[in-house]
């Protein structure tokens, strides 16, 4: 009898849920796209795996088939740029990392999206572009005042620690964005619990040369003072300014974490550090907010650590500066696509309020106000409080300068930094080498040509540029 009642109640609940879900009536233009196939190039990452769960639902609703080609993250930039450059239109839409937008948009590889947003025949009536966080959509998708991509999640990088291990050691970790969590605090806490003999290292850092652009950079920013903000490694004339005592101090701090690492760790990337943490053998490690569910909180694959973690910001530096990291992936329609309207139909659907909120249960991150406030996010990813305010007001989309030279700058930073890690050079030499080589890269890019007046604008010097309402962009 109980089973009958339970089944009836479940059926009634599901019916109500179905009624509560928005049901978009398709327009004639959308119906005409039925039977088309769109090709999507994406990196193998948790947030795209989350979106892939919705492909069947989309295909059933619109009759448009989505074919996704997943490429390992390390090869994604090569693959996507080569595809775009060839202009064959093999892929109708691409995943775009935040620091590549300027490069792709300037090269004319992407289709401006605002005409599609405003096209009532192709965009669902309740799409509501102004529901996106202004800094998230503009930081992710706007280049030269024009919207090119739509975000599918954005967040800061941070750190993840084992709360249970801290408790056993007799201390409690602070809250996210608490000023108490500083570089010194992190080092001391890691030292307190570091016990390699018992398979517990204090901090699983990521010193591999290919990762410094995401794992070291937060420390470079944290070691700034309010006076040096904005000039972290590039000044207003695009001169490289990284050879200074703040850089040296931040490298030295990064290097101090080596104390907790095994001998054979100089090439550790995100994969290695995360694996050690997942195995329960590290007290803390690096994280990216959108990876938290996929990397640390899935009870099925991370049974040793899921539910035992505290997710914090990257530590504040000696002057209390917290790294304003902005990480995001977005979707952009290829200029050479032969199915632009079908690609857009998918993109507007998958970034809609409804799908974005539901996707959070699989690990996707929020980029809309409504997603941040959704019960699904609160239920499945309760580690987001505090990030909303940060993404609204503090985050800096240009921390990794969005110019084509970034790939080389980041590589130089990694190579010189990694050489310090392995003891080949000291931090002062590394800072000097970085400045010289980055300057060469910028010179080669034409930044120092006398009289040149078309250099990119440094929007990070006035972040209110990114705070316009999304619908106000071209």
């Amino acid at each position: 009898m109980n089973i009958v009642k339970l089944s009836a109640a479940t059926a009634a609940g599901l019916s109500l849920l179905m009624l509560a879900l928005p049901t978009h009536a398709q327009t004639e233009a959308q119906k005409a796209l039925s039977g088309k196939t769109v090709h999507f190039l994406a990196p193998s990452m948790p947030q795209f795996a989350a979106l892939a769960k919705f492909f069947p639902e989309f295909e059933e609703k619109y009759g448009i088939k989505v074919v996704v080609d997943e490429v390992p993250f390390e090869n994604y930039r090569q693959k996507s740029l080569v595809e775009m450059q060839q202009g064959t239109g093999t892929y109708d839409f691409f995943a775009v990392d935040v620091m590549w937008l300027a490069e792709y948009a300037a090269a004319g590889f992407l289709e401006p999206l605002m005409p599609y947003v405003k096209n009532a025949d192709l965009t669902d009536a309740d799409y509501d572009i102004d529901d996106f966080l202004p800094r998230v959509i503009s930081g992710t998708g706007v280049f030269n005042d024009t919207l090119y991509t739509l975000p599918i999640g954005a967040g800061p990088v941070g750190t993840t620690f084992r709360a249970d291990v801290a408790e056993k050691a007799g201390f409690k970790l602070p809250e996210r964005f608490s000023p108490e969590f500083t570089t010194k605090y992190m080092y001391d806490a890691a030292k307190k619990v570091n016990n390699p003999e018992s398979n517990m290292i204090g901090f699983a850092n990521i010193p591999g040369r290919w990762f410094w652009g995401v794992t070291y950079l937060p420390y470079l920013f944290a070691y700034q003072t309010p006076e040096t903000k904005g000039d972290e490694y590039v000044d207003k004339d695009w001169k490289i300014t990284i050879n200074n005592e703040r850089t040296v101090a931040s490298i030295d701090y990064f290097l101090s974490l080596k104390e907790f690492m095994p001998a054979d760790s100089a090439n550790w990337g995100i994969g290695e550090a995360t694996a050690v943490y997942q195995a329960g053998n590290a007290f803390g490690t690096w994280n990216y907010q959108d990876f938290v569910k996929g990397f640390f909180e899935d009870p099925e694959t991370q049974a040793k650590v899921a539910g035992k973690n505290v997710h914090l910001h990257t530590p504040a530096g000696p002057d209390g500066v917290i790294d304003p990291w902005f990480g995001a992936w977005s979707l952009g329609v290829s200029k050479d696509s032969k199915n632009k309207e079908a690609a857009w139909t998918f993109m507007q659907w998958v970034t809609s309020k409804d799908v974005q909120a539901r996707a959070t249960q699989y690990g996707a991150g929020p980029s809309r106000h409504s997603t941040y406030k959704s019960e699904t996010l609160a239920k499945y990813q309760p580690w987001w409080p505090g990030v909303y305010e940060f993404m609204l007001k503090e985050t800096n989309p240009d921390e990794r300068v969005r110019v084509p030279e970034w790939a080389e700058i980041s590589d130089i930073m990694g190579e010189e930094g990694n050489r310090v890690w392995i003891g080949e050079i000291d931090s002062k030499t590394a800072a000097a080498n970085m400045e010289k080589r980055m300057t060469d890269a910028m010179r080669k890019g034409g930044y120092y040509i006398p009289g040149r007046n078309d250099l990119p604008k440094q929007q990070w010097r006035d972040l209110t540029y990114y705070d316009r309402l999304p619908s106000e962009w071209n």
Binding site: R77, Q78, L81, V82, Q85, E103, A106, A107, G108, G208, R209, W210, P262, A263, D264, S265, A266, N267, W268, E272, V276, P404, A407, E408, D411, E415, N418, R419, W421, I422, E424
Partner: protein, 321 residues
């Protein structure tokens, strides 16, 4: 009807066929070989010469793939000059030469040793021969992945067992992929593991082709094994050695998958060879011109090295004969 009449009244089409045949057919000994070779030459041009010419064109212009809006300016030999002035280029060249010389040297002597050993009729030798060839059969990518996991910090077979032994002996763990010198030697070790079988195969074939008579004469004269090896085996094996060493040198010079999978050029830049540098320049920084110039320099180095090998071996072979 006379012959001349028949000729003059033949249909015009037949005449043109005959004309084509006389111009390009077997009767024209100067042209016909070219006609036969034409399909091959066209394919060769399309897949070999055209890309080479295009590389020359790209290297003499300023082409950055991520900036297609920039005009393609003719820069002459600037890219070569910039490379020659670039310390990264010299570092990569040094690492490549060091890797190639070490790997080919060890592979040659190990391969020769194995080939001599397998000449003897020992029990189970046929099975062992197949077993030895397995590393060479594996795709380089798979071999590199296997070894990457073998050296995985803390969890790989090599790190676990060898690390256990060195720890027990009081030396601590060996940083196989984290110490610049050890990481480089680890790559040489894996290359030797993978390609010694190739040397073995080539030199075994060479040994099998040496006639028995010189050995019989040496035996009658009472020559020692050592003397037989240096005065008979090595000189007569030279053609096989030349082919094996030239092929392996070209291959080792171009090693890519192994390095990218195992160290990605690190730690620092300790294992950044020419190919890693080339890939970084062309496919990460998208500087197509610099990458084209670099690939042409690499090609020239390989051609010069092969030419030197061939000259040296030929002159020695002629002296021996």
């Amino acid at each position: 009807m006379s012959i001349s009449e028949r000729t003059t009244t033949a249909p015009p089409m037949a005449l043109s066929h005959r004309g084509i045949l006389s111009r390009f057919g077997p009767s024209n000994r100067a042209v016909f070989p070219w006609v036969l070779m034409a399909p091959t030459l066209i394919i060769l041009f399309a897949i070999g010469i055209y890309p080479f010419l295009y590389s020359l064109y790209i290297a003499s212009h300023n082409v950055i793939l991520s900036k297609p809006y920039l005009p393609r300016i003719f820069v002459g030999l600037y890219q070569y000059q910039a490379l020659i002035q670039d310390p990264e280029f010299w570092h990569a060249l040094r690492k490549t030469l060091l890797f190639t010389v070490q790997a080919v040297f060890i592979e040659f002597w190990l391969g020769l040793g194995l080939a001599l050993l397998f000449q003897r009729q020992l029990a189970g030798i046929a099975f062992m021969r197949v077993f030895i060839l397995i590393p060479m059969i594996l795709p380089p990518l798979v071999a590199a992945l296997i070894w990457r996991y073998m050296f995985y910090p803390g969890a790989g077979l090599m790190t676990y067992y060898v690390g256990g032994i060195t720890k027990a002996l009081g030396f601590g763990e060996i940083p196989f992929l984290s110490d610049p010198t050890i990481a480089f030697q680890t790559l040489v070790f894996v290359d030797v593991w993978e390609w010694t079988p190739f040397m073995f195969l080539m030199l075994s074939a060479g040994l099998a082709s040496i006639p028995r008579q010189p050995y019989e004469a040496a035996e009658i004269d009472g020559a020692s094994s050592w003397r037989v090896f240096w005065t008979i085996t090595m000189p007569l094996l030279r053609p096989a050695i030349l082919i094996a060493v030239v092929i392996r040198t070209m291959d080792a010079f171009r090693t890519y998958e192994l390095i990218v999978i195992m160290t990605r050029g690190g730690p620092g830049n300790a294992t950044t060879t020419m190919n890693v540098f080339l890939t970084k320049t062309g496919l990460e920084f998208f500087d197509a011109s610099k990458a084209a110039a670099l690939s042409l320099i690499m090609m020239m180095i390989i051609i010069v090295m092969s030419f030197v090998f061939i000259r040296v071996f030929r002159s020695k072979t002629e002296v021996a004969e």
